[in-house]
Symmetry: C2
Subunit: 87 residues, 2 copies
């Protein structure tokens, strides 16, 4: 499965959330991660986020696609993607 994950998390918790997400997904832009993951990784992400965020204040949305090909992606302006994981 391919996911696009967007988060709106208080500055108090955002570093922990980002550090965790970087283990599974690629950082795309401020507040956005993306990547191909397995079903079990998806459940780990979901359950861990529930512990890391404050569910009364923070918000995370996960868009789940069958594959990366289910969408087309265009970028206007700077491409901020962190490609460091590829090196």
């Amino acid at each position: 499965m391919y996911v696009i994950l967007v988060y709106d998390v208080s500055v108090k918790r955002v570093n922990k959330v980002c550090q965790f997400l970087r283990q599974y997904l690629n950082w795309i832009q401020n507040s956005v991660f993306e990547g191909e993951i397995t079903k079990s990784e998806y459940f780990i992400i979901k359950e861990t986020l529930k512990k890391l965020i404050n569910e009364e204040e923070d918000s995370v949305i996960i868009y789940i696609l069958r594959s990366e090909n289910a969408m087309k992606k265009i970028c206007i302006g700077v491409e901020k993607t962190d490609m460091s994981h590829i090196i």
Copy 2:
């Protein structure tokens, strides 16, 4: 077509960008808009954003899906969606 639009725009320009996007899409979360649009609306959005943002500094990504059914969406924590446009 259904689009998910995420932006990372300097605070100097972000209000203009948001006000413009609200005419075509639904505000979902900090930095995220979503919605069903026509091809011509898509071109208006793309071309107007190029004028509103600074292409050297800001970044907008548009994920284009055939329809809303091409994805599943889950939310963890607060649902911040602004439903005011529906009332």
